[in-house]
Structures are given as structure tokens and as C-alpha cells.
């Protein structure tokens, strides 16, 4: 590549600061996801009683985090993207808390 002469060409290289991970990394992350999926199925096919649902959701959350951090490139994302993702989960939390606070306190003992 020739030495950039104008600011446009100098800045054109900035997109290289965000790199696409090599294939070996992708395959490693994929192996981790497959392992987690098998763990999720193992939990699902077992009889853990009341903790089964928590274990399943915990495993799903870890899978989602691995998928998001590596495959969805949150690892390299800027702060604004992280803020947007966090806000999504924050508002989902509001959805859960306010809705369930209402519904689960209705008809107490009368179902």
C-alpha cells in the first residue's frame, strides 16, 4: 500500500482497527458453544428438580454471552454499542419487573 497522501486515505485505514477474528478463534468459540449446548441438553434431560430451570437458564445465559461477545463482536465494540446493548437488557428488565410485580400480586391465594 502506498503512503496515504490526503486525510481521506489516511482515515480510510481506520476501519482496519476493527479486525475480523481469524478462523481458528471462530472455531474455538464454536466448539465452546457446542459444548454449552450439550450441557444445556444434559441439564434438560436430567431430573434436577427445582434447580433445573435455574440451571437451564444459567447455561442459556452463558451461551448467549459467549455468542454475543465473540460471534457478535461485542469484544471489539465501542462504548456506544455496549451502551445500546445494556439499555436493551435494562428495558427488558423493566418489562419483567413491572409486569410480574403486577401479575404475580393479583389473586393471591385464589387461583
Amino acid at each position: 500500500m502506498t503512503t496515504p497522501t490526503n486525510s481521506s486515505e489516511r482515515h480510510a485505514d481506520e476501519f482496519l482497527s476493527h479486525t475480523v477474528p481469524p478462523t481458528s478463534t471462530t472455531l474455538t468459540v464454536f466448539a465452546a458453544l457446542v459444548g454449552l449446548a450439550m450441557l444445556a441438553l444434559l441439564i434438560g434431560f436430567s431430573e434436577l428438580g427445582p434447580i433445573k430451570v435455574l440451571a437451564s437458564l444459567g447455561c442459556a445465559t452463558v451461551q448467549a454471552c459467549v455468542l454475543g461477545y465473540f460471534f457478535m463482536e461485542l469484544k471489539q465494540a465501542d462504548k456506544l454499542t455496549w451502551l445500546v446493548v445494556a439499555s436493551g437488557f435494562f428495558f427488558t428488565g423493566i418489562q419483567f419487573v413491572f409486569t410480574l410485580t403486577d401479575y404475580l400480586t393479583r389473586h393471591l391465594g385464589v387461583l
Binding site: S8, E9, H11, T23, A60, L80, F91, Q95
Partner: protein
């Protein structure tokens, strides 16, 4: 804003749109746009899961019974299909990034094929649910359920039955579910579970179909040489964000809907064999 952007850099990176200062900013904006859309999708599915959570907390045993009637075998295979498709779409980004057109097209086609197989298995699952009479409402009785009702009516001619409940009892008996209807679970409430099952999986299927359409479009663009400008890998990456999100939703659908009730690995294998025509069961 500098006027330098009027000059298109003579690189293989492709032109920067006039309202961006540089390619890095343009790419970051494209990514942010897709993430903003995905946040709305999180809220969209979140609403369905909130409703599911409320009813599951109210009726846990009925939801377990409903889950026991589902085909965990197909769901398990679909999980791995989606994971592999996430891998292939990520490899497609790498191919676009380094300018490997053939690899890009190959990986996009593989992703599309895997998604299509997923939808094929899902369609088969819905067909089996229909054959087994697991549609909420007063659907037709299956053969075995009708025989059970006839036997019951021999003792009690005035017996009133709900067809879905009767069909469900047959399916659960075949799946080895130990609960007693009326005592351990209420078959009528299981219909609520099935509304969530069809609603949530139906929404997921809709998103898969849209994703497959976008993938097909990108395959055509790749064949036309659109991604020969390496900086355009960002559009493959943007599509992959959507596809990974659909996979992420499935990661929560599996334990909440399919694995909520009692299932065994052997049962899942038998259910999958039945689904692809290798099983010994012939419907109920």
C-alpha cells in the same frame, strides 16, 4: 466536515459515503444501526417471555406437562443446526474481509441450507403436532383418543370431553409422562402452554424466514461482485448480527419450552427418528 472526503481513495476499500468522515466511522454506524434494531427485537421477544414467565409461575405443573408432549428430538437437532449456521455465517464475514469471493458464497449458501433444514424440521414438527391433535381448541380426536372416549362413555354416557385434553392424554401416555390428568395437571391449562409454544416458535420461524431471504439476497450480491470491495464485509457482518440474534433467541426457547418438562435422551432420539420417518411409532 473536511472537503477531503470528496476524493475517493484509490484503494480496494470502496468509497466512503459523503456524510461520514472516514470508513471506520461508516462501519461503526452500520453496526450501531443493526444493534439498535436488535434492541427492539430483544424487547419484542422479551414481551413474549414475560407473559410466559407469569403463566409458568402460576401453572408450573401444567407447563411441565405441556412441555412433555413436545418433540425434544427435533428441537435438539435444530439447536445444533443453528449453531453450525452461526459458525458458517461468521466464516463468511472472514471471507468477505479478505476478499475470498468463492468462500463467501460457499459459506452463505451453507448458512442458508442449514436454516432451510431447520425450517423443514420445524414444519415436520408442526405437522406431527397437528396429527397428534395438539392444537388448542376443540380439534378432532385422534383415533386412540376416540377409542378412549368411547370406552369412557360406555361407563358414563353423559361424559363431556374436550378433544384437545383427550389427545394430550394419549400423547403424554406415549411419552411416558407420569402425571395423572386432573390430579397432577389440568389438561385445559396445558392449552395455555401450547398457545405460548405456537406463538413463540411461530415468531422465531418468521424471523428465520426473513433471515433466509436476506441471506439469499446477499448470495446474489456476492455472485455479482458487490463484496469485491473488501470494506463491504460490514454488510455481511450486519446480517450475521441478525442471524446470531435469532440463534440467541433459540437458546432460551429450548430450555423454556422444550426442556421444561421431563424428557430423556432415548425418548428424544426416538422422537427424532419418528420425525424423519425412521421411527416405529405411527402417530396416535
Amino acid at each position: 466536515m473536511t472537503t477531503d472526503n470528496a476524493t475517493v481513495p484509490e484503494t480496494s476499500y470502496g468509497p466512503v459515503a459523503h456524510h461520514f468522515n472516514n470508513m471506520g466511522q461508516q462501519h461503526a454506524t452500520v453496526r450501531l444501526g443493526m444493534w439498535l434494531f436488535l434492541v427492539t427485537e430483544i424487547l419484542f421477544f422479551g414481551a413474549a417471555f414475560v407473559a410466559y414467565t407469569a403463566y409458568r409461575i402460576w401453572y408450573p405443573k401444567d407447563f411441565e406437562a405441556g412441555s412433555a408432549a413436545l418433540n425434544a428430538g427435533i428441537a435438539s437437532v435444530n439447536t445444533f443446526l443453528l449453531l453450525i449456521s452461526s459458525l458458517t455465517v461468521t466464516l463468511a464475514i472472514r471471507c468477505a474481509y479478505v476478499g475470498n469471493r468463492k468462500g463467501l458464497i460457499r459459506n452463505l449458501i451453507l448458512t442458508t441450507l442449514l436454516g432451510t433444514v431447520f425450517l423443514g424440521l420445524k414444519a415436520r414438527e408442526y405437522q406431527l403436532d397437528y396429527v397428534e391433535g395438539l392444537i388448542p381448541g376443540n380439534v378432532a380426536l385422534t383415533k386412540e383418543a376416540a377409542e378412549n372416549v368411547l370406552r369412557a362413555r360406555a361407563d358414563n354416557p353423559n361424559l363431556v370431553v374436550n378433544n384437545f385434553n383427550e389427545n394430550l392424554k394419549v400423547v403424554l401416555k406415549h411419552n411416558g409422562f407420569q402425571g395423572v390428568p386432573g390430579k397432577d395437571y389440568d389438561p385445559s391449562r396445558v392449552q395455555l402452554f401450547f398457545m405460548f409454544y405456537y406463538g413463540i416458535t411461530g415468531l422465531h420461524v418468521l424471523h428465520m424466514v426473513i433471515g433466509l431471504g436476506l441471506l439469499s439476497w446477499q448470495i446474489v450480491l456476492a455472485m455479482m461482485g458487490f463484496f469485491d470491495f473488501k470494506s463491504r464485509y460490514i454488510y455481511v457482518e450486519t446480517l450475521s448480527l441478525y442471524w446470531h440474534f435469532v440463534d440467541m433467541v433459540w437458546m432460551f426457547v429450548l430450555p423454556l419450552l422444550y426442556l421444561c418438562g421431563p424428557h430423556t435422551f432415548g425418548q428424544a432420539v426416538e422422537q427424532f427418528k419418528l420425525a424423519i420417518g425412521l421411527g416405529s411409532g405411527s402417530g396416535h
